[in-house]
Amino acid sequence: MADELYLENIDEFVTDQNRVVTYKWLSFTLGVHVNQAKQMLYDYVERKRKESSGAQLHVTYLVAGNLLQNGHVCHKVAVVREDKLEAMKSKLSTIASVHVYSIQKALLKDSSPLYNTDYDIVKTNLQHCSKFSAIRCAAAVPRPPPDAPRAPAPAQGAPRHRDPDAASTINGHGPPAARAPPQQHRGIMGMFAAKAAAKAQDTPKETKAEAKEAPGVSAASSKPPTKNNIMNNFFGKAAMNKLKANSVPEQPKEEKEVVKPSVTVAEPESSPNTVAEKPGKKTESARIQQKDKKSKTKRANRSDDEEERDPENAKKKRKRIKQLQSDSSDEEADVPPSPTPEEERPPSPPPEPALKTELEPACTEVSAGGRKRKRKRVLKSKMFIDEEEGCM
């Protein structure tokens, strides 16, 4: 009979498996209301005791009621062993509830097995821990999950509106800060992907590097100069001046100004788009401008020979970059390897850098762009030397 099934189940749990069967555990295991579970336990105890087949059962009860304590009437809720039940009941002036809390074979020294049993069963049923409870709350509904469009939403007001119930701080840093870390990775990877894509097209990449460098320079005022200073040590002042000369005049360029909005926090997404597109569109103008800017032959040679040399450059660049990497002490170390494997990757969806991530990719790009240029410059020179030596 269905009624007797639970008795057999409880019997199995208690005697065969030697478990501590609390009402909550039984409720979750059998899928019944907590009050039914309590009644089942009681029924089992009564029948077992009547049979008196010799199996020792220890029962703990829950007692609740009014207790006069320290001058005020306190509502006391206590878990007691069976032998202390009557004593506790007599202490209470009014008894609010009594029911079986748990059944187990062994005598419990303290209540930690009870806690552990309940903890385990709740842990495995976390998502519907109130399913068998006696109280239903209509207001307890999960919030709608934040969707992907929320992340790239430029305005920081958007996440605030989306969580009307979240009492998270109105402090402007609250929600975006939570979003920043995942976006940061996307931002950096996106930057690399975008960079790699540009690298596939040689000149677009140049312009892109320069384009990205400009916002980097304008945005992260402190970082690029420091990076430039560090690069100074490696590449010499001449290269440094070249870089600065290139970066500064590039700023007034209109494409740079369009790219500049990427610096502002408000529109992080549009800028990478524009930046990604712009180099493609304006490669030629950039190239021409590049050539105009160039004062040294090396640079002119570089741009001229870029296509021809690029395959070789690419290979040798990889080598060189790795060697230079060992020299460098900045985080540009991670920048060069990533463009190389990602060369074939098409431009991924534009990154959505937050303010912080903007600075970093921009900086790495500044340095990367500068680096690339510098490395190229140096490479060229070295290669010339090599070739000369080879010739010689």
């Binding site: 207790l67 509502h75 809720v77 009594v98 519907h128 109280i135 701080t169 939570a178």
Partner: protein, 486 residues
């Protein structure tokens, strides 16, 4: 309140399973509005000095105090600034109290090399008989002293508070039962030696009352604080589980469960994590030893998340941060970030709120803190009773007068959000040593329920506030341990 209602069906579950057991719907919150916007900080700038907050505090409370002074000592008393004082003239001065205490921890003394002092260990109280009291206003300060009468007042006899005749406490001199930073109006005259002889004093008194629109049926709010998760000892764990079970309606017979369905809200007033999670031992150890160690608070916050999830699926919960919780140290403490509680913050019933927390629940205005303000006053004054200190702050018109002197505080400069402008209906503080509550009646019809919420990890007691009649009952949990009783 629970017990009487539940008594008839108390033994109902000591029976074989019967028909389908009833489920009770949780009583819905009729009206909730969060009034703690003044405590939420947006952009924070710490480039300002703390003097501004005192100036703002004095300017804001001066009109009220002048009114009180006139009503107390007559309309024709002379209200003077300290700069306008004339020797021998009886007048009333409004200013900020400052207490000069020798034992007060001072960072300058600690780092001063000429003293070669070992930093002072934390004491439970820093008061001393030789402490001196000063009154400061915008420009000057003057040392306060009392006459023979005040001497008696010093030892705590005779003087009465402004309203309601509560515990007598003194103002000036050694046994100063008040705290620095309070705005006070003193009546007396300046002596020839430059001291101000105080004859009488008064504080701002209870703020104007709020209209009462409480519920007509029984509605409960559970106040608990000091859950203390992450502590080494696990005694309070089962009690915490019992608390959650009572509130979510799993524990108890039917009568008790139906009463528990009337709990409309749970407010956790701070110290959800235990002090043990704050240990900084890893700082002193070598890096290679502590590389894989996780901060204790990580595990504790996971436990907290699970507990909050169980609560949130059944009842709206407001979580206030406390002294040991992972949020900023200075008052007002900002809400815990919901990324720490991924499971629980999926539910709309979880609200993460600031440390002084003010909200209107079902027409009843709640205002409370996690207890740092009260325990700070406890350290620097002779008052021993948390409820007494709580009442005193209400009468002084300021939630935490010792901020920023001895309690960390944000350098406000436009307005002081801790000034009490309206009288709340329920005024609580968390992490008190034991449960205390009192209903205070004011002269203008204010009714305030003062509740000192006990530390749950130590006392296994929480508070149930009945919104209908502003009564409060403690609810205590116990299990059996190695020793038979409790």
């Amino acid at each position: 309140m629970f017990s009487e209602r539940a008594a008839p069906t108390a033994q109902g579950l000591l029976a074989p399973p019967a028909a389908e057991p009833p489920t009770f719907p949780r009583v819905a919150v009729a009206g909730y509005s969060d009034c703690s916007q003044p405590f939420q900080l947006g952009e924070r700038s710490f480039s300002r000095q703390y003097a501004h907050i005192y100036a703002v505090r004095l300017a804001a409370m001066r009109p009220g105090l002048e009114r009180r002074a006139r009503s107390r000592w007559g309309n024709d008393i002379a209200l003077r600034r300290l700069s306008e004082l004339q020797a021998g003239e009886k007048c009333c001065v409004v200013g900020t109290l400052f207490k000069s205490m020798q034992l007060q921890p001072s960072i300058l003394q600690e780092i001063s090399e000429e003293h070669n002092l070992v930093p002072q260990p934390p004491l439970p109280k820093y008061i001393q008989p030789a402490d001196e009291l000063f009154l400061e206003d915008e420009l000057q300060r003057i040392k306060l002293e009392g006459a023979i009468d005040v001497q008696r007042l010093v030892t705590g006899k005779g003087q009465r508070w402004l309203c309601g005749g509560t515990t007598p406490r003194a103002l000036a001199g050694a046994d100063a039962g008040c705290a620095a930073g309070t705005i006070v109006a003193v009546y007396g005259c300046e002596q020839d030696d430059g001291l101000f002889l105080v004859e009488d004093h008064c504080f701002a008194d209870l703020p104007p009352p709020l209209p009462w629109s409480g519920p007509s049926s029984d509605r409960f709010v559970l106040l608990a604080s000091g859950l203390g998760l992450g502590s080494v000892s696990g005694e309070a764990l089962l009690s915490t589980q019992l608390l959650v079970d009572v509130v979510t309606g799993q524990l108890g017979a039917e009568g008790e469960q139906s009463c528990a369905a009337h709990i409309t809200r749970v407010i956790l007033a701070g110290n959800l994590l235990s002090q043990n999670t704050q240990s900084r031992d890893t700082i002193n150890k070598a890096k290679y030893l502590t590389k894989k160690t996780q901060a204790a608070s990580v595990e504790a916050v996971k436990m907290l998340d699970e507990i909050l999830l169980q609560l949130c699926t059944s009842v709206p919960v407001d979580v206030m941060p406390g002294e040991f919780d992972p949020t900023n140290y200075t008052l007002p403490q900002q809400p815990l970030h919901r990324c720490m509680l991924p499971l629980a913050s999926a539910y709309a019933t979880l609200r993460l709120v600031t440390n002084p927390y003010q909200a209107s629940l079902d027409g009843v205005r709640f205002l409370g803190t996690s207890g740092q303000n009260i325990s700070d006053i406890f350290k620097y004054s002779s008052m021993d009773d948390y409820l007494e200190i709580l009442e005193w702050t209400l009468l002084a018109g300021h939630i935490s007068p010792t901020a920023p002197d001895t309690l960390g505080c944000y350098p406000f400069y436009k307005s002081d959000p801790f000034i009490l402008t309206e009288c709340p209906h329920v005024y609580f503080c968390g992490n008190a040593p034991h449960f205390q509550s009192k209903l205070l009646q004011g002269k203008e019809g204010q009714r305030v329920l003062l509740v000192a919420v006990p530390d749950f990890s130590a006392t296994q007691t929480a508070c149930l506030v009945n919104l209908r009649d502003l009564t409060c009952q403690p609810i205590a949990f116990s299990s059996f341990g190695a020793d038979s009783e409790d």
